[in-house]
Symmetry: C2
């Protein structure tokens, strides 16, 4: 099920700047029981990301109505591009954005990913530093594609990416948290990485679990020394990292509590 | 006129990884009098760029035959993407690339751009350093889009981009050369930038004009001190920079000779 500008279709113009240049942004979210999860936060991010590319963001109510046409339980994706354009990088003032609202089935990750944690790969690709695009979930995702090519082992659930300086930034499809002595550390994303909705929620809810939070550079050594390491996104929720870069962590109480909290609430 | 996988169409799948992730590469070339200019070099670059993303490159003869269906005088563009894919960054082994072959009309740049040179803007956006993608003409072009947004003045023909260290890398749509004391300097593109076909041709032909070449870091100061500064791509050929960053250059003999040489030859 795909809607292009509100109309059922499975095609976009070959001239769309989303294809030509990756000139657009997207969101991935879960629909559960007919509810588009964390919609207020998802829309706020979409709008902010559109602003960072000087894209017009479609109206929230219109997008919500389109999401409501998708299956009640699915992974929903919204793509907003700058629309079809003449050749060349220049943006015309009256560009009409293209919006794609599409569903795919919920992935069948092993339930042990949630209950026992996952094995993660340390990616050799280093994320480039581009403050103008950092944090934004834009359509230029070749770094993620190349990083994901680094492993084929089905036992590895995610790859963790560093920046040029060797600090941890994110997973290929997730944000990263490291718990140490009651403080939840997550990388500063002002130079690279995607700042996801679940990262924001963890930062917002941590105090309810008695945790302090710290957004800062997170050297790989600090991650390795953590009491618990967690990955989050809107489809997986929270996965604890069980095995990474030669270390094994056992089941963590905080990961489980955060996973439950994100799942229970919708704000 | 657009061919998608050889069939006239103006649409690609909304599920194409070219749209979802910018997972693909492209070439832009000129057709003149029914000839797809510098085709051997263009195809070699396309194939090399495909290899760098582990994409299967379509056969040269098939692409040449598709180009031959475009108008005899046009700007031709070839896009190769990884094709439609399931959700997620992982690449399936049997991915069927999508190929787009499309024509647009030749741009009507003022003839003075070639004869008298152009005014260029110094972009404030700095190119990120990503050795894994440097040189490749891939579909992740948001830096170019953002850089091109920096000016609206129609008198400015191009923007020149620096890397984080302040060295000149390229124009938003062109490669850059700086002539100093009989040596043609062009930036090293091993960390960012797109290595275009006309850059290769200038490097190959320079000796015929009695010029040495040097590929190295090109600090902005060195560009400003050049005897001539040139921009090149497959549509514009060679433009001399007449005005940039507070300096004016008068008509340059070497720019004119290189422009003529690139135009006369097809190798």
């Amino acid at each position: 099920m795909t809607l292009i500008n509100g109309i059922p279709s499975d095609a976009v113009s070959a001239n769309d700047r989303g294809l030509l240049y990756g000139d657009g942004v997207f969101r991935t979210l879960k629909r559960a029981g007919g509810v588009s999860r964390c919609w207020a936060r998802q829309y706020a991010k979409l709008a902010a990301d559109c602003t960072s590319l000087n894209l017009r963001c479609p109206d929230a109510a219109m997008l919500a109505a389109e999401l409501a046409q998708l299956p009640p339980d699915c992974v929903a994706k919204i793509i907003i591009t700058r629309g079809p354009g003449a050749r060349g990088y220049a943006v015309v003032a009256d560009a009409m954005p293209t919006r794609v609202v599409t569903a795919s089935s919920l992935p069948d990750y092993p339930s042990s990913h949630s209950t026992s944690g996952v094995k993660a790969h340390l990616c050799s690709l280093r994320l480039a530093s581009q403050p103008r695009l950092a944090g934004v979930k834009h359509l230029n995702r070749l770094e993620n594609v190349l990083a994901r090519m680094e492993w084929n082992d089905a036992a590895i659930a995610e790859g963790i990416l560093l920046d040029e300086a060797g600090s941890v930034i994110e997973g290929t499809m997730s944000n990263v948290f490291a718990l140490r002595d009651g403080v939840l550390h997550t990388p500063d994303l002002s130079r690279c990485g995607v700042a996801g909705v679940q990262r924001d929620r963890i930062l917002a809810f941590a105090a309810e679990l008695g945790l302090k939070t710290r957004i800062a550079s997170l050297p790989l050594d600090a991650l390795m020394a953590a009491d618990e390491v967690m990955l989050c996104n809107s489809v997986i929720g929270v996965w604890q990292v069980r095995e990474f870069n030669g270390r094994v962590w056992n089941g963590g109480a905080v990961s489980a509590r955060l996973r439950a909290l994100l799942d229970e609430r919708d704000d």
